[in-house]
């Protein structure tokens, strides 16, 4: 029988490296932007405009108009290919009254705007920080509920608490890797944390139990069946019995997620990507991190128990 659990040291090292890389990405992001992940206007407040002009315009022309409205720190970037004449401008928050005037000024001083394609978003800083606090709370509550949930499901198994803690370890692992990935994309592609990122994070937390619970279920079922086998072997058997299902399920979820990333709307690409990374990490960590951790823990305590018994 192929022994997955035995080689656990290698998985721990592999994950350690991944987590180190994630932390490094967040460190670089912190050094460059002052934040481990680039935070978007949903949480900081501010405005973003996407403007599509009828013809070529220059960055300076745009900047000029924004400066007339006291928006000197506007960040002006071209979007898409040059023939699209599409620009993104980020500023501090602009009031509803100013937007109308700003657009009129742009049309008269820079060039015709395609009003059908016009998109903008403004968030007050005050609500931004409130949303950020609530987001932190939501993540905390979600994690606690999931632990409680596992603990409750496995309440008849000895040491149910350990199952919960190992799940949390796996979940933390997934979150760190997802965050690291996002930090990296923030540095490379300018991805920012928005409310969809929060949605993805919470979803990853929710799915963190999907695979682990199947393996745990099988361990619960197999433990009385193979009473004579050491725990490690029972666990390994359980993993092998369920790995087909984990991979098949994961593959299907990946098919649709990759399809959405490749063919779906551009605005949800970051959202789906972080979800994909989180879910792949989840399947991996369920089999190679959470369950082997449980083995380490159980083994440790049994050894101590035996030692006590012989003493």
């Amino acid at each position: 029988m192929f022994n997955i659990v035995e080689k656990r040291r290698w998985y721990f090292i592999f994950s350690g490296i991944l987590i180190a890389l994630s932390l490094a990405a967040m460190g670089v992001s912190y050094a460059r932007f002052g934040q481990p992940l680039r935070i978007g206007i949903d949480f900081t407040g501010g405005s973003i405009f996407v403007l599509e002009f009828d013809g070529a315009v220059t960055e300076d022309q745009l900047r000029d108009v924004f400066e007339q409205f006291g928006l000197e720190s506007a960040i002006v970037q071209p979007l898409g290919s040059p023939e699209d004449y599409r620009w993104q401008v980020r500023t501090r928050e602009v009031t509803a009254e100013e937007v109308g005037e700003l657009l009129t000024a742009l049309e008269s001083q820079v060039g015709g705007l395609n009003r059908d394609a016009l998109t903008f978003d403004t968030v007050e800083p005050a609500i931004g920080s409130e949303v950020a606090r609530a987001a932190g709370l939501a993540i905390l509550v979600a994690s606690l509920i999931i632990v409680a949930f596992i603990w409750f499901s496995f309440r008849r198994v000895p040491n149910a608490f350990r199952y919960g803690v190992c799940t949390i370890a796996g979940m933390t692992h997934n979150l760190l890797i997802a965050f690291g990935f996002y930090a990296l994309m923030g540095i490379v592609a300018g991805w920012e944390v928005d409310s969809l990122f929060l949605t993805a994070t919470l979803t990853v937390i929710g799915f963190s139990v999907q695979d682990v619970i199947v393996v745990f279920d099988r361990i619960r079922e197999n433990t009385p069946k193979y009473r004579r086998e050491p725990f490690e072997k029972v666990v390994n058997r359980s993993i092998l019995e369920t790995i087909h299902r984990s991979l098949a399920t994961q593959l299907n979820a990946m098919f649709v997620m990759v399809a959405i990333i490749l063919f779906g709307g551009t605005t949800i690409k970051p959202f789906m990507s972080v979800l994909l990374v989180g879910m792949v990490s989840e399947t991996y960590s369920a089999i190679f991190i959470a369950v082997p951790l449980l083995v380490v823990w159980e083994k440790g305590s049994r050894r101590r128990a035996t030692a006590r018994a012989t003493a």
Binding site: D116, I205, G206, I213, R245, T249, N252, I260, G264, T267
Partner: protein
């Protein structure tokens, strides 16, 4: 074939046919639409509702902003919502949305609207209308006056008043900068130290209309309530020849002369209004002031072309993604996989039908949540089939293996689904509190999908597989490769 199993099959086919009928993009007969008793009467409709991010439009998130230290009651929030709603409805848009979000926020979605200024003006207008006694000296329009009535002094600082465009056009000069920068009371020029006596306020209005004179001028005819009519009658009788100023939010709109006593409580406001301004003024008068000031916390607009693009791309992504899933299931699990595919198609139909029936407004992340839930809907089947294969390999008979596959896989399915639903609930609460309709959209479709999945993956597939096994069990047992073993 046992009777209960036949009934199950009939029920599934019936549900699938109904779902298909609802999903199809045809003209559904009116009597069918009228069956949707849970939808408000007159708006019963079988159609897919697209969110603002898909059809384009403006979203404004408002928050109650009571003056420091002042509390407001939950009921006044509902009043505010109703007033905002009636103002928004008067804009004549198709399907605008005005919803309370949490305890102190209101979300307003205006499809097709582009100019946030106009929208915010309509929504927030805290119009306080006064008729003041100006004696024998007319006050020029646009002047800010002090009256004996307290008035909306809360309108300060970040709270933006709504009169800028009105004043601007009435005077023929741009005063909007004054309003936008600070507020009414601080910087606007005062006419004099004079305090004008308020005769009537907007509260005395019973009815407000909109009309056009023969000179093509827009006027706003009004009717006073009984008490107001009496006061008005007394006042006009004793003050013939004097000026009566109509003041909106302390700003004079016009100062007509009282030519004769007005006994019936009927009159009209005239000025150099454009149709738009006259309509907005009428709205403000009709729906009165809000019970508390509202602050714009965020607004965003999605261009219609971007929305259209998002719809097309999502449909494409969904079709491609699900086709791969269907193929994978068929190739990997053979016959049961094919049956699961049928269940998956029914799953998609039921979901789409529910979006139309409930109705659920689809957003871009909502569609993503749906596609994702469809991709994961097969998970329950996979759990069951893997289990079934194991049981077959360990030498169990086909019928028994199927039963055990379903029974043993159930706890894992249940736990997985429950944890998804818990997360959806958290996302929903979060999205609701902050008017983040995209977060909510994802949570709703994912949660709904998870629940529908319990029906299709477990009930439907089980019935299908059971039926097939019963019909061709012997033949299948000899050819287990068809079962994917």
């Amino acid at each position: 074939m046992s009777q209960s199993k036949t009934w199950r099959l009939v029920a599934i086919i019936l549900i699938a046919v109904v779902a298909l009928f609802v999903t199809l993009n045809i003209n559904h007969p009116a009597w069918v639409e009228n069956l949707l008793f849970w939808q408000p009467e007159g708006q019963r409709d079988i159609s897919l509702r697209l969110g603002l991010d898909l059809q384009g439009g403006l979203k404004v998130l408002l928050a109650a902003d009571p003056p420091e230290g002042q509390e407001f009651e939950a009921s006044s929030m509902e009043t505010a919502r109703r007033i905002v709603e009636s103002r928004v409805n008067s804009l004549g848009l198709t399907e605008p949305v005005v919803q309370a979000q949490g305890e102190r926020r209101i979300i307003v979605e205006l499809p097709g609207i582009e100019n946030p200024e106009q929208a915010v003006e309509t929504i927030k207008g805290t119009a306080l209308l006064e008729f003041v006694d100006a004696g024998f000296n007319p006050v020029p329009p646009g002047t800010v006056v002090t009256t004996t009535l307290g008035g909306p002094q809360a309108a300060e600082g970040s709270v933006i008043t709504d009169t800028s465009s009105l004043t601007a056009t009435l005077e023929g000069e741009d005063t909007s900068d004054i309003v936008a920068s600070t507020g009414v009371t601080e910087t606007q020029p005062q006419a004099s130290g004079q305090v004008y006596e308020t005769i009537l306020t907007g509260a005395d209005l019973a009815n407000v209309g909109l009309d056009r004179t023969e000179q093509n001028q827009y006027i706003i005819p009004f009717e006073l309530n009984q008490e107001g009519a009496e006061t008005f009658s007394q006042y006009t009788t004793s003050s013939v020849g004097q000026y009566l100023c109509i003041v909106l939010d302390k700003e004079v709109i016009s100062c007509p002369t009282i030519r004769e006593p007005i006994p019936g409580g009927r009159g009209s406001i005239s000025g150099a209004f454009t149709l738009e301004e006259a309509r907005q003024l009428a709205i403000q008068l009709r729906y009165g002031a809000l019970p508390m000031p509202l602050r714009v916390e965020s607004f965003n607009r999605v261009g219609a072309t971007l929305g259209e693009q998002s719809v097309n791309r999502s449909v494409r992504a969904g079709v491609i993604g699900l086709s791969i899933v269907l193929l994978f299931m068929l190739i990997y699990y053979r016959l049961p996989g094919g049956l699961a595919d049928v269940a998956l198609v029914i799953y998609v139909l039921i979901n789409l039908a529910l979006y139309k029936l409930i109705p659920i407004t689809l957003t871009l992340p909502g569609i993503a949540g749906f596609i994702l839930s469809a991709g994961m809907a097969v998970d329950a089947n996979i759990l069951i089939f893997e289990r079934m294969k194991e049981e077959l390999r360990s030498g169990r008979r086909l019928g028994r293996a199927i039963e055990m596959g379903f029974d043993r896989a159930w706890p894992s399915i249940r736990d997985g689904q429950l944890s998804t639903l818990i997360i959806c609930a958290i996302l929903f609460v979060f999205g609701t509190n902050f008017g983040a309709s995209i977060v909510k959209g994802f949570a709703i479709t994912l949660a709904l999908g998870t629940m529908v999945n319990l029906f299709t993956a477990v009930f439907t597939t089980r019935t299908f597989v059971g039926q097939v096994a019963e019909a061709a069990g012997q033949w299948l047992s000899e050819r287990e490769w068809i079962l994917g073993v």
